[in-house]
Symmetry: C2
Subunit: 560 residues, 2 copies
């Protein structure tokens, strides 16, 4: 590494979470010693059929496992912890640090994986300070929509860094203390060289809503509802879950929790004291019929229109216990993740069709209200007065918006770092810049048991198959004569409805026979690759002319 | 049909456009005589890979072709005219009525189809009255975002109907006259039995933006922009195109039009006098390099992130002539269609990555601002004071919102018709109700040259193929011995990366041999269906255990 004192710099390498929402993972490296912040996953894009998750690419850490001092987690959301089961073994089980809640969620999730070693995670709390080689990390409380979310104050040999984590400022949160501005100010007194700040809300004007304002809105629905209330949200929005439980208790409703992840998270949070539920509030769904409708709240997953989650199964009448009826009020109490709008609309229409009243407040529709918006982001910059500013977490458009906010707060443009995943940021007291070389940061896809084995080729094939299906042609060829024996077999799926396409298939078979007989000929050595290419191209062209579709064509030739 | 005077009723049958956005088509039927309003298509959902469009199901019209008096088109948007090329022959070329612009667009589009007969379309204008059997139809101007949009005042033997078409109230439109409230009031004086009103904007508070306000916002960008302006919008938003041309002329910019559909629409609209472009304003894209950046506007398609449209090709550096650079301003001047949010975000990030400034006003983000919002919808009800109210056009949630607006305006709930596609609404002077029986209204999918041949089976196969790919096993079996000859062929795509899965394939081959040898045996008659089922099930299970993926398994057994 760099040897002369003058050149000593900190390397910052975002492996995920920049230019995207989710998959957060960042490396800080000082003279080869590595500190990792978060290990999250994200959901696949529409054009990645069959993919379960996308996780960070950790090629850069290969061979550097021994230099990893530890991983600190900011909070227990999957976009910050979800990659742990896939990656922790590969990076050699370094020391892990998380809040009791995040720790509980990570450990509970490990149980779903056949992992060789039980994880050890050290609990940290607000104000905890840990020393990891050249790094001193102090955890400070930041409001979000899950309890125990921590920003990081990181002391390094070249100066102090602040990593905001996901955050919002909330003067009247639910299930949490208000933002401790005194503490933030105290931190800033120590001179901040670099502020790394959450950009997710940087395109949203004004201030995020306080959780207590959201509670007030929810309460309006509770006041008026005469029938059952079915409230859908993310299983990870512990504070929203708490709000709905508090309101149910206030209005004399029992709460049935539906959905595996919801039940799991409620259990973990309650056991660790993060969720307050009175004795007798929870009820098993099978007993709700015994109570009047006005005494029932169902708290469930599926506000994104996920096919297998509870709310969709209610809408499609596939839920074993719950059927909607007139008088039911359904509340969508979480934002719609971009890309899910159509599914959610179809879900909502399904609920309307069953005469339920549906509540879906626009005001809750800003990434679940968990992220600082423009005024808060400016305030954070004002408080920290950093020399350098680095927008993190979010799409590029959000990071650009955050960078522009910093400019408006007087940070000179040359001191603002706009970087993307895999870029190496060099930081010292005097300067911050992005190196030309990059480390691998492309998507690593998880599909079933496979991690990283689904790549461009497999995805491209899946998309081709999805668009126009496939068309397998099996021709048996006589080795002696070089001619096709009998009629070729055709197996096609997703292309045309076979029963109604007999003519097309007959014409195709005829064409296959003539192509093979012509190209194979009978003069000894046959280039079967050429024969297959001919079948693929000519039959492809033929089918396109007839249908204007391009199924994937797979010729199989069997010599007998 | 009904014979006694007492029972005489009008049948209204929506074949599309209710519970969805697009695919508008409605039937009015009086004693067997049929009037059709619009014939539109819509875009497929995400879970319909390979499908180009969805069109209305016209089974109900089969055998009734001779009773069709005519088709009236409200305006020239594809969700109102797009199904014409697929359906017009099937319904026997009835008389067609459209504004000159809609007529021009319909006729131009026909040229792309191998249609046997040239269409004859009668031009209608504001105030035109046509008499079709028992129906008298008067066309009245309604503001939208395309010129020549007409609401319909329909006289029938049981009373007067108003069909709003897509509409908004605009006191200062661009390229159009302001809403003629006097005319609307005059219509209402004739006593309206039924109002059928556009619901698309019924969930949006307040009033839609005037086109001139949108112009003002666009002008802010024109004022400040120092480099080129690249403005992307729908090819069908003729008024937005006009705005951008007016502003370009005002600010001394030449306009290059990019994109086939954009060029076609500009040509049609200009020829018919709907688009005013000064001589010398338009410029061929290949010459823009010869002018200073500040003198250039590029008007193009692709604001939805469509893969093949101009803007995406600019973003991915695939456009033959246009490359972005710092100083360029890119304007998204149309709403994001629900479901396209992710694609648009990825597109925007791509533009930011190339240092362009990106403008995407939220205020333009309400279905292109073309639809009446809550205050306008209330006003329309107030003006028409109909006895019965029927919300049309839009998702069910929008129609429910529109119905609730009508209730708030004093229309009794029993006089509000909430219906879905395929339902039959019976209307007479006294009552309006939805019949129990329905007519077919399920999706008819267009894929390439096929209309309606892609159904549930093909789509399900496509989705299975997309998720985990396919796995074809070809085993050659000796007819004498009933045993597999050699090693079975495996062709797999979209499942695993084959080159890295040699072990898995070898194990699978071995398993196939053993399954076939066991089940086929050597005692004469073999049930090959059973053998294939065994291969499919057991190999499916085996592959799932190894990968937790479920490719489509297709066994082929060849006896030799």
């Amino acid at each position: 590494m760099e040897k002369t004192k003058k050149q000593l710099s900190l390397k910052i390498i975002p492996l995920g979470g920049l230019g995207e929402v989710g998959r957060n993972m960042m490396i800080l490296e000082w003279q080869g010693k590595i500190l990792i912040i978060d290990m999250g996953f994200r959901m696949p894009e529409e054009d990645m059929p069959g993919v379960d998750y996308i996780i960070p690419n950790i090629s850069y850490l290969k061979g550097r496992e021994k230099n990893i001092l530890g991983v600190v987690f900011t909070h227990g959301h999957y976009d910050h912890i979800g990659a742990v089961p896939y990656l922790i073994e590969k990076i050699g089980y370094p020391p892990l640090f998380a809040s009791p809640l995040a720790r509980g969620i990570i450990l509970r999730r490990q149980e779903d994986f056949p992992i060789k070693r039980k994880l050890e995670i050290k609990s940290i709390r607000n104000g905890s300070i840990i020393k990891l080689g050249p790094f001193g990390v102090e955890f400070f409380r930041q409001n979000h929509n899950i309890p125990d979310n921590f920003g990081l104050f990181i002391q390094t040999p070249i100066g102090n860094l602040v990593h905001t984590s996901d955050f919002k400022f909330d003067s009247s949160p639910v299930n949490d203390l208000p933002t401790d501005f005194k503490k933030l100010n105290r931190i800033s007194l120590q001179k901040i060289l670099l502020l790394m700040s959450d950009s997710t809300g940087a395109e949203e004007e004004g201030h995020s809503f306080s959780e207590s304002l959201i509670s007030k809105n929810l309460e309006e629905i509770f006041k008026k509802a005469k029938g059952r209330i079915i409230a859908a949200t993310f299983a990870s929005l512990i504070n929203r879950i708490q709000q709905i439980i508090i309101l149910s208790e206030k209005y004399g409703r029992k709460v049935a929790i539906e959905g595996y992840s919801m039940r799991t998270n409620v259990e973990i949070s309650r056991n660790l004291g993060y969720l307050k539920i009175k004795k007798g509030t929870l009820i098993n769904t099978k007993y709700i019929e015994k109570l009047p409708d006005s005494k029932i709240t169902v708290l469930c997953t599926g506000a994104q229109g996920e096919g297998q989650a509870v709310l969709m199964r209610i809408a499609t009448k596939e839920h074993p216990l719950l059927r909607l009826k007139g008088g039911d009020s359904v509340i969508f109490s979480s934002s719609v993740i971009p890309g899910n709008e159509r599914t959610v609309q179809i879900l909502k229409d399904g609920l309307y069709r069953q005469k339920a009243e549906v509540f879906h407040y626009r005001m809750m529709d800003i990434h679940a209200g968990g992220h600082a918006q423009r005024e808060e982001l400016k305030k954070m910059i004002k408080i920290m007065r950093p020399k350098f500013f680095f927008p993190i977490h979010g799409q590029l458009s959000m990071m650009v918006a955050n960078a522009n906010l910093a400019k408006s707060q007087g940070i000179p443009e040359r001191n603002i770092i706009l970087a993307e995943n895999g870029q190496i940021i060099i930081l010292n007291r005097k300067e911050a810049f992005v190196q030309n070389k990059t480390v691998p940061s492309n998507y690593v896809m998880v599909d079933g048991l496979g991690v990283g084995d689904v790549g461009e080729v497999v995805l491209r094939d899946r998309k081709t198959l999805a668009k126009d299906g496939m068309f397998v042609i099996v021709a048996v060829v006589d080795r002696q004569t070089g001619r096709v024996r009998g009629s070729p077999d055709i197996i096609s799926r997703g292309f045309v409805y076979l029963r109604e396409s007999k003519e097309l298939l007959a014409a195709t078979r005829k064409k296959v026979i003539s192509i093979v007989n012509q190209t194979a000929g009978s003069d000894g050595v046959v280039n079967w690759t050429y024969v297959k290419d001919e079948v693929r191209n000519k039959i492809g062209q033929f089918l396109y002319t007839k249908t204007q579709r391009r199924p994937m064509i797979l010729p199989v030739i069997i010599e007998v």
